[in-house]
Amino acid sequence: MFASYAEALGFDQVDLSLDHPSTVADAVNRLRALPGGEKLPSRPLCALNLSQAAPEDPLSPGDELALLPPLSGG
């Protein structure tokens, strides 16, 4: 979790226990259900293990999923 998303949720990292199989969208929905999570968009830009991910991409134990707010480098 980064920038405005981390601020909304109040943390920048969390371990999630999800059913198997689960997808990126399942993890996002779980986060959006947490306090402050309503500020996250339903389909945020996501990276799974450092590469861009789609909502339907499957998750495996130990995966690192990052939710990326609109980029503003430069």
């Binding site: 980064f2 990052a66 707010p69 980029l71 503003s72």
Partner: protein, 152 residues
Amino acid sequence: MANLVYLTTEPIDLTALLAHVQSPSRGGVACFIGAVRDYASGRTVTRLDYSAYGPMAETECARIVAEAESRWSCGVALKHRIGTLAVGDTAVAITAAAAHRDEAFAACRYVIEEVKRRVPIWKREVFADGSVEWVGSAAAGQQGSAAVAPSS
């Protein structure tokens, strides 16, 4: 963050970036500096706080530099600073050197545009009245134009 190549928490050394790309066969050297501006949206900015998804940002920067070097047969150096920056500080610097100026300018322009579009870096504006705002957050509810290049 370990193994920082393209990101740094220290002031950017432009001389080092120039030295990195210059060579006897490269007669055109272009440079772009992105500096912290003292206003945004009509309000006075006192500082910017930059943060990044370090490992992914490093990977994406490396890809962008490699793309530019290959496309324009040039040498490219890139540094983006992370942390708290004051007005006037250099946030990002790019140098590109090629045989001729056209390639150097084109590579330099490509790199800054792709960095802004693809590298997971965020900045928060701190205004003179003490308020803070994440840049781009107004579009947080949309699927923005931000896109990360597919893995290659």
